[in-house]
């Protein structure tokens, strides 16, 4: 009975696609064209006619709206036009969850989840507000020089490090793992740009405790993936990547302004993670490989803790390059290079990589992956999660 109430195993990711990933401002194409390109590649990968995509789901106020996309692509019947509210990449897995809901509800057959960013054409995230006034919630931070995402989040991770004795080397291990994995990934913007511990230690400070290499890139590009029913996916050319669970969440009053969330030193996964695991029927011990959204390394640190991979006071032991390295580490992490070193496609590239790990086609493949997990958007509201699998255990 309970099985009937969950999404577990009922849908699959049938196709993935992305454009070339560029450094910010370097795309020769406008953002809308990048999105069209990524969607067409995902449809080709899935082996479907792009006109048969009937649902569109995105997040973070993506500028490329489904009605325009549907008109441009000749969508026969637009059945689902959907956006996850909230900023940052917190909606990355949440948009997949919405796509799944549309398929299970019978609204849609093939929902594309997409994200496009051309930060040369539009603005960058890492700059402060340039307006002469800071109204409302911004008034309590911007006049004091607290304006960028790095500055907002450094305050939370500093408190976590104070409460739990986490050391700078724990943050460094996350960055080194992403850059190491990117050296194997020709798609990665940082491919060919290896990072050493010494380079990290001597890199300039952005805002303590974040060095340059603790911060995500800003990039141009687009990514898209196709969600459909498990039955349809089995008739398509790619190995189905089944979804065990996907959900969004936000803990009690996390969006309280002026840094007043009651629980402060958190990535905001404390209520979501237990729901995610319960729905999937797996625990952290069964996760073979993890893609954890890096806006900043400190967010990854708290995400890993809040998903039960280690005790909050145990991060200095777990967080080593060896433990995070594919293929043989204890917890292979961000195996494409992720937001830090593959591309900041707002975390959708992490979903692609999680799917590749299930297919067996990652450039840093972990052997015999069954359970592959994504955590999206630490420290924003809402955040979201996704657990994928090659085998659902069903007969």
């Amino acid at each position: 009975m309970a099985e009937e109430l969950t999404m577990r195993g009922k849908t699959a990711i049938a196709g993935i696609g992305e454009t070339t990933y560029y450094r910010h401002g370097q795309s020769p194409d406008p953002e809308f064209r990048l999105v069209l390109d990524a969607i067409q590649r995902a449809a080709t990968d899935a082996g479907i006619d792009v006109r048969d995509i009937d649902g569109f789901a995105s997040y973070s106020n993506d500028r490329n709206d489904p009605p325009r996309l549907a008109a441009a692509l000749g969508t026969k019947d637009l059945t689902f036009s959907n956006m996850v509210w909230g900023g940052g990449g917190g909606g990355g897995s949440g948009a997949v969850a919405n796509a799944i809901a549309a398929v299970i509800a019978g609204y849609s057959k093939y929902v594309v989840v997409y994200r496009g960013l051309a930060q040369g054409q539009f603005g960058r995230f890492g700059q402060g507000a340039q307006a002469p006034t800071a109204p409302g919630g911004m008034a309590f931070t911007a006049p004091y020089g607290l304006m960028s995402p790095a500055q907002s989040f450094a305050m939370r991770i500093r408190r976590f490090m104070y409460e739990h004795g986490a050391e700078q080397n724990a943050l460094r291990a996350i960055s080194l793992a992403s850059y190491q994995h990117a050296q194997h990934n020709p798609r990665a913007v940082m491919h060919g740009r290896a990072l050493t511990a010494e380079m990290y230690d001597h890199s300039r400070m952005i805002v303590e405790p974040f060095h340059l290499f603790d911060c995500c890139q800003e990039n141009d590009g687009a990514a898209a993936l196709i969600v459909t029913s498990a039955e349809r996916a089995r008739d398509l050319p790619q190995k189905p990547v089944y979804v065990l669970s996907a959900a969004q969440g936000s803990d009690y009053r996390q969006a309280a302004t002026a840094h007043n969330s009651p629980d402060y030193a958190t990535s905001n996964f404390k209520t979501l993670a237990p729901r995610l695991y319960a729905m999937a029927g797996v625990g952290p011990g069964e996760v073979d490989v993890l893609q954890s959204y890096e806006n900043f390394t400190g967010g990854v640190l708290m995400s890993i803790v809040e998903h039960g991979f280690c005790d909050p006071d145990g991060v200095n032991e777990l967080f080593t390059l060896e433990n995070f390295s594919a293929p043989a580490g204890k917890l292979p992490l961000n195996t494409s290079g992720g937001n830090l070193a593959e591309c900041y496609m707002h975390g959708l590239e992490l979903v692609h990589e999680a799917a590749r790990q299930v297919r067996g086609t990652s450039t840093c493949q972990v052997p015999d992956v069954n359970v592959s997990m994504v955590t999206s958007g630490p420290m924003v509201q809402p955040v979201s999660d996704l657990i994928l699998a090659g085998d659902t255990g069903a007969d």
């Binding site: 890492g126 700059q127 402060g128 507000a129 340039q130 307006a131 002469p132 006034t133 800071a134 109204p135 409302g136 919630g137 911004m138 008034a139 309590f140 931070t141 911007a142 006049p143 004091y144 020089g145 607290l146 304006m147 960028s148 790095a150 500055q151 450094a154 305050m155 939370r156 500093r158 408190r159 104070y162 300039r204 400070m205 952005i206 805002v207 303590e208 009053r253 309280a256 302004t257 002026a258 840094h259 007043n260 402060y264």
Partner: protein
């Protein structure tokens, strides 16, 4: 509470204003008078910060602003090195602190920690509010900064 005529950060950063719907105006008006206030529910007495139109605890719309001592404790901090605004181009490093107010239900406020920007910052250290005046006439506003107590 003290007043400091000097500006901690270079001039040219955004001026704080109430939200477009007016929320928060009382705080900035009080700061201009060098009074530190936070929102408090007139029905259940819960402190609330930042401001909202409803009390998160009892859902009353009968909220007011109440004066607080201006004594606080450093809850977290950061030293900023990379400028993200043109006005800060030659203004780094600087310190931003998150201060909790024990006499206001431990609500928190963001401000700068006055003094040497490379000083050691201690979480839990006692601080007090200092008003920093900017602008003149209709453009006048005051920021709430923080100074460590010996």
């Amino acid at each position: 509470m003290a007043v400091d005529a000097r500006s901690y950060l270079p001039e040219g950063l955004p001026q704080p204003t109430a939200a477009v719907d007016g929320l928060g105006a009382e705080f900035w008006e009080a700061a201009n008078r060098h009074e530190l206030v936070v929102q408090r529910c007139n029905d259940c007495s819960e402190f609330q910060w930042g401001p909202e139109w409803i009390c998160h605890q009892c859902h009353s719309y009968n909220l007011g602003y109440t004066g607080v001592s201006g004594r606080g404790r450093i809850f977290s901090w950061e030293r900023v090195w990379h400028p993200v605004h043109p006005a800060l181009k030659d203004g780094t490093p600087y310190l931003v602190v998150l201060v909790e107010l024990p006499d206001a239900g431990n609500v928190r406020m963001v401000g700068n920690l006055l003094g040497e920007p490379t000083q050691d910052v201690v979480i839990g250290a006692e601080v007090e509010a200092v008003f920093e005046d900017h602008g003149e006439g209709d453009e006048a506003y005051a920021l709430v900064q923080w100074r460590t107590l010996d």
